[in-house]
Amino acid sequence: MLLIDNLSKTYANGVQALNNVSLTINAGMFGLLGPNGAGKSTLMRTLATLQLPDSGTVLFEGVDTLKQPHYLRPKLGYLPQEFGVYPSVTAVDLLDYFAILKGITDKKQRQQQIEQLLELTNLTQHKKHAVNGFSGGMKQRFGIAQALLGSPKLLIVDEPTAGLDPHERNRFHNVLSDISENTVVILSTHIVEDVSNLCPDMAILANGSIVQQGSPEQLVANLDGKLWQKTIEKQDIPTVKQKHQVISERLVAGKAQINVLSEQQPDSDFVLVKGDLEDAYFAQLQLLSSSNSSNQSLIAHC
C-alpha cells in the first residue's frame, strides 16, 4: 500500500538525515526502530507530506504523494513527535477545529466522533479544559485523538507512547492494534518493546539508512547461537568491553548482566541465551558502530 523508494534528504547544515531509504509497507502495523537522530522524524515528516526529500518517491495506493500531497492528506492521521496546541482552547473545541480542517463538516457526525475519541483516549472528563493546561501524558493522548480524526487510511505516529503511563500505553497499543486491521500504521519509536508487542513487520533505521528489515522474529532469529551472556561486577565492564563485542548491558540486582555477540563461546563463564528484539536491535547498532569506527580508522590512516 505504501511504497518508499530511495528517499534521501540532506539538511542545509550538512546533516544527511535520509540516505536512499526504500521500504514497502502493507496494511497493518509497521515498526520503525532507531536511535535518537537516526532520521526517523525526517522520514515521518516526509511521509506526512510536510517536507520534501532531495530525491526519491513515496507511493500511496499507487499515487506519488510528494507530487500530489492533497491525495494523501485527507486519508492521513499524523501524530508528530513534538506538537503544541493553541492557548486557552478546550480539548473538545480544538478537536472540533482539527476535524473541520480534515473536512468533517457535518456537525452531528463530528461531535459524535469527537466524543468517541475522547472516550477512547480517556479524556472525556477533561474535554472542557484548555489543552495547554494538560499534563504531558494527557496532551499525548489528545495528540492520539486528533490523529485518529477522520478515520485515516495511513496513520503515522512518531514516538506515540512517550510520556504515557503503563496503563495508558497498553490502552493505546490496543487501539493501534484494532485500527491496523485495515489501515497502514507506521509506528516510529526507539522503544523496542512497543515494536515487539505490536508490529508484525519492522525496520531499523540508523544514520539515515535502513540497516535491517523484516519481522521481529526474523531479526531475533539472526542471533540464534550467537548471543552469550555473563553476569559480572560493574567495575569489570570496561575490561570485558575491551575483550569482547558487548552489545548490551543491564543491571540485575546490582550486578551487570552483559550480552556478547560471538560465533563461538567467548569465555567459559558465558552461557548461550536466546535473544529478544532488544538484543537484535542493539546488535545491529553495535555492528554499525563498529563498521563506522573501522571506516574512520581507515580514513584517518589514509
Binding site: 544527511q16 510536510l50 532531495d54 492528506r73 485527507p74 473536512g103 468533517i104 477512547l120
Partner: protein, 398 residues
C-alpha cells in the same frame, strides 16, 4: 473500541470562519481592547470641542471622527493578524494543521476573513462609543437616519477597504516572518509613516500640516488606504453650515481610490496564496559538502563513543571566585546580545529610527541655514500632532 468512519465534505469554509471569529472573540485581550476603544471614543466625543454653529452628529464630523480613530487600525489589525498568521508556529501545531488535508486557499482565506471580520466588528465600537456619548450630552433632535448614513459611509466606504489592505499586508508579513514581533513592528511603521504622509499632504486631522508637493498629494489621494485625503479634499471648501448639512458624495476620485485599494488587496492575497505552502520550512542541499562529511563523521564518532563510554563521570567543583562570576556575567551579556540586538527585528527598528532621525537632522539643518526650503514633516510634527490633537483627548479622560 472502534469508531465510525465519516465521509468528508467540501464545505469547510463556513465552519472555519466561525472558528476564527470565536477564537478571536474568546480572547480576554479582545474584550479588553474593545472596551478600551469604546470608552476612549466615548470620552473623546464627550469632550470634543465644537462651536455653537457646529452640529456634533453632522455627517462631516462623524466621518472625520471615525477616520481619525481609524488611523490606529494597523495596531488593532496587527493584534488579530498575529493570532491568525503566527499561531500555528507559536503553538507548535503546524505539522498537525498542514497535514490535516485542508487546502491552503481555504486555510489562508478563512483566517484572512477572520481577521477582517473581527477588525470590522471591533471598529464598530467607535460609532457605538459616539452614540453613547451623545446620549449623555443632552443633544436635541439627532437625525439618526443621517447619522446611520454617515456611519455606513465611513465604515463601509472608507474604513473597510483600509482594513482589507492592512489585514492582507500584516497577515502576509506574519506568514512570511512567522513572528508576532515583526507584525507589531511593521504595524507601528505603517502607523507612523501614514501620519507623516498625512502631515506632508496637508491633512486637516494633523497638527501643523504642510503641503510639500501637489503632485505627491494627487498621487497619495489615489492610494490613500483610508481615502481620508479624498474626503478632506472634497470637503475642504465647505462652510460650517455645509458641514452640518451636506453628505460627502461618492466621487470619481473616491471610486478610483477604492478600486485601486481593492486591486492591491487582490494582488496581495494572490501573492500570499501562491507563495505559501503547506510544508514545514527546511533548507536542503543536494550536494554533500565537506562540512556535511565532517558533521557525519563527528556524529558517528560521538555515537560510537557514547556506546563505549563508561556510565560514570568525574565530579567537578563549582568555582565561586570573581573570575568565574565575571565569566558567567559575560556569558549572560552575550546571550542577551544574541537574542535582542543581533536580530532582524532590532535591525529593522534601528534602520527605521535612523531614517526618521536623519530626516529630523536634515530638517533642522535646512531650517537653521534658512535655505528657503519647505521643512519636511518629521518626528517633531508627529509629536506636535499628539501634543495638539491626541493629548487633549486623553486629558479629557480625567
Amino acid at each position: 473500541m472502534q469508531y465510525q468512519a465519516i465521509p468528508h465534505s467540501t464545505s469547510t469554509w463556513f465552519e472555519l470562519i466561525k472558528f476564527e471569529l470565536l477564537f478571536q472573540f474568546r480572547q480576554y485581550s479582545f474584550i479588553g481592547l474593545l472596551l478600551v476603544t469604546l470608552f476612549f471614543t466615548f470620552f473623546v466625543t464627550k469632550n470634543q470641542y465644537l462651536s455653537n454653529e457646529q452640529v456634533i452628529w453632522a455627517p462631516y464630523y462623524v466621518i472625520k471622527g471615525l477616520v481619525t480613530l481609524a488611523i490606529f487600525l494597523p495596531i488593532v489589525i496587527a493584534f488579530f493578524s498575529a493570532k491568525a498568521a503566527v499561531r500555528d508556529f507559536d503553538a507548535g501545531c503546524e505539522s498537525i494543521v498542514f497535514s490535516s488535508g485542508v487546502d491552503k486557499t481555504t486555510l489562508l482565506m478563512s483566517r484572512y476573513i477572520g481577521i477582517v471580520s473581527t477588525s470590522f466588528i471591533f471598529c464598530l465600537s467607535c460609532p457605538i462609543g459616539m452614540l453613547i456619548a451623545w446620549q449623555t450630552m443632552s443633544i436635541e433632535a439627532i437625525d439618526y437616519s443621517q447619522v446611520l448614513t454617515s456611519i455606513i459611509f465611513a465604515c463601509l466606504l472608507l474604513i473597510f477597504p483600509a482594513i482589507l489592505l492592512a489585514a492582507s499586508v500584516l497577515f502576509g508579513i506574519g506568514l512570511k516572518a512567522r513572528s508576532t514581533f515583526m507584525i507589531y513592528i511593521m504595524a507601528a511603521v505603517f502607523l507612523i509613516s501614514y501620519q507623516v504622509i498625512l502631515s506632508v499632504t496637508g491633512s486637516p486631522i494633523m497638527a501643523r500640516p504642510t503641503v510639500i508637493s501637489e503632485q505627491f498629494n494627487h498621487f497619495f489621494s489615489l492610494f490613500d488606504p483610508l481615502a481620508a485625503s479624498v474626503f478632506f479634499e472634497q470637503t475642504a471648501q465647505w462652510s460650517n453650515q455645509q458641514r452640518n448639512e451636506l453628505m460627502p458624495i461618492i466621487s470619481n476620485e473616491l471610486i478610483i481610490n477604492r478600486l485601486l485599494i481593492v486591486c492591491a488587496v487582490i494582488t496581495l492575497l494572490t501573492l500570499i496564496v501562491t507563495r505559501f505552502s503547506l510544508l514545514l520550512p527546511t533548507k536542503s542541499t543536494k550536494k554533500k559538502t565537506a562540512q556535511a562529511t565532517k558533521i557525519e563523521r563527528r556524529k558517528n564518532t560521538q555515537e560510537h563513543a557514547a556506546r563505549q563510554s563508561p556510565c560514570s563521570y568525574a565530579s567537578t567543583n563549582i568555582q565561586q571566585n570573581s573570575l568565574a562570576k565575571f565569566l558567567a556575567f559575560k556569558a549572560l551579556i552575550k546571550r542577551e546580545y544574541l537574542t535582542t540586538i543581533k536580530t532582524k527585528a532590532f535591525l529593522l527598528v534601528t534602520a527605521f529610527w535612523a531614517l526618521v532621525l536623519s530626516v529630523e537632522v536634515l530638517n533642522g539643518l535646512t531650517y537653521l541655514e534658512s535655505l528657503d526650503v519647505t521643512p519636511l514633516a518629521t518626528t517633531s510634527r508627529t509629536l506636535a500632532r499628539f501634543h495638539f490633537d491626541v493629548l487633549p483627548g486623553f486629558v479629557a479622560l480625567f
